[in-house]
Symmetry: C2
Subunit: 320 residues, 2 copies
């Protein structure tokens, strides 16, 4: 079922291990789990989306280093309740995503068990001195983010509404983008490489929410950050969602919602405009400057009236 | 908890992904799952043994290619019932095994879930033309196996006996080796490299039992095999086990028992003696010639009286 071939694949599935060629740069290694009952539910998740997501979230970690994904290993725990059609759809989603990211799926393992678990490992390549870590942000750097934020969190909220609410949203012409953001996140591979080449000093992919992930860059780099709240690019449909679900705030979702897999990076001031132009032209992807790195260790939000407040790392933790 | 350092580790745990150096040869990739309720039970498995085994079975796949393990990724699903001491012991077992195999644990993922799952990936290196596949066996090659066989299967049988039987065995001075074979299998890394250098034409590690795994070499290589039953090196303590458990046969266990992680290889006839001498001298490891590769596609067993019978792939399948 896995694609044993592909550029650089010397030997794919079927022997004790796969054999692949790696380039002269450094090798990037990352692994992510998707667990039934924690990251997804069998009755509400399409296996094709799930396969896509399992690949995309791993590729996103490679993208966040400025690297290129090359090879993937998929280990799968299946239950007695899973039928062959479900597995074929899952692998279909994985293979389509892998093809899109030029990733060769070369191996893995299979077991039965009590809950479905997907454990994916991705091996990538990066020019060693081109790898962008979380630890390089310097005071004066601008903080930038790709795309828009909070879409996946909005999609999760919408998916938990009654079918009537979802249908009403659909008839009113919104909701689809939020549900897609949740179900089929895309890794920003080309964007990550472009940001690395543009001189990004720190970078990560937003999996746990902006404030929580920015706090990681601050901690690793030994710096603080100021975020201009009116610059944070909340996903467009969050406005409609907030009207439909009183109490929900687009900005709060954009600040703390997880699973967007957009890239958060820091750039020297004069690198922002060229990088934004390059991302727009090459990938049709927005790059938004949302604040700057400062001395110290705290995060501060600046409202449109100039008032400042401490910004706490909020977000969610799979283990909480 | 993971060891972020080690030779070749540019960046270990803590960023989006690990960065490692790989050599000029080919890269070996392998992944294996250990699932609660399928591969182990929480109440009968020591977490230290489990950690050891999760690393060893992956390293064994690299060894079976003639490669060197370099880097490991550990993804772990933990339940609410697991306490910190258990996790520390598990990682202690993993780290000790990794140190023994010169493997650097550089990353992974963690999730809660309903059942404990260990998903380990190992990245290794091999000289590309030195990699030993399953597909290279040729008629006339001798079939060899390291160590002894059936020990893990015997350990499983013994572990399923009443405590009184185990205690009686212990007092009689046997059983320990079988239980150790099951709980703490060792990967034959140096032995695999030595066999590769000696000219092994095909090789794999015995995880599903001799007949089943030999059938894989036959299928992949397009050959048949003749096995001399009196040459098969059954684990010594299986004789005592068979006396204690009527109906159990040491030879049957050696032919079909899984999880021994010994190496099964094919060698040109004149390479067997030098390879055996080298394994004995360098690793204190026996290498036993148990038969030869023949034209055709079937497997035949030859008894001590010269009588021949078809040998069927028996063994066990985690998915059955």
């Amino acid at each position: 079922v896995l694609s044993g071939g592909g550029h650089g694949v010397i030997l794919g599935v079927g022997d004790d291990a796969a054999l692949v060629a790696t380039g002269p740069g450094a090798t990037v290694l990352t692994a992510d789990l998707l667990v039934e009952g924690v990251h997804f539910e069998m009755d509400t998740t399409s296996p094709r989306d799930l396969g896509h997501k399992a690949v995309a979230v791993n590729v996103s970690d490679v993208a966040a280093m400025g690297g290129s994904p090359r090879y993937g290993l998929v280990s799968l725990v299946l239950t007695r309740h899973v039928d062959l059609a479900w597995v074929m759809e899952l692998f279909g989603g994985m293979r389509a995503a892998a093809d899109g990211y030029a990733l060769s799926l070369v191996g893995g393992d299979l077991s039965r068990g009590e809950r479905v678990v997907l454990a994916v490992t991705v091996v990538g390549e990066v020019w060693e001195r081109g790898a962008v870590l979380r630890s390089g942000a310097r005071p004066g750097d601008r903080i930038v983010v790709t795309g828009s934020l909070g879409g996946a969190a909005g999609g999760l909220l919408l998916s938990q509404c009654s079918p009537a609410v979802v249908a009403r949203a659909s008839h009113a012409g919104w909701g689809h983008e939020l549900l897609v953001a949740l179900a089929r996140p895309e890794a920003r591979v080309g964007e990550g490489q472009t940001l690395a080449q543009a001189g990004a000093t720190a970078m990560l992919d937003l999996s746990d929410g902006l404030t929580k992930d920015l706090a990681r860059i601050c901690a690793e780099s030994g710096v603080g950050a100021r975020i201009r709240l009116d610059a944070v690019p909340a996903a467009a449909e969050l406005a409609e969602l907030a009207r439909a679900l009183p109490g929900q705030d687009p900005l709060a979702l954009a600040l703390s919602g997880g699973e967007d897999y957009e890239l958060l990076a820091t750039l020297p001031p004069d690198a922002v405009e060229p990088a934004a132009a390059s991302l727009r032209e090459r990938f049709g992807c927005a790059l938004t400057e949302i604040g700057e790195i400062v001395d110290g260790s705290g995060m501060v939000s600046v409202a449109s009236d100039g008032s400042e407040r401490a910004l706490r790392p909020a977000g969610w933790d799979h283990f909480a």
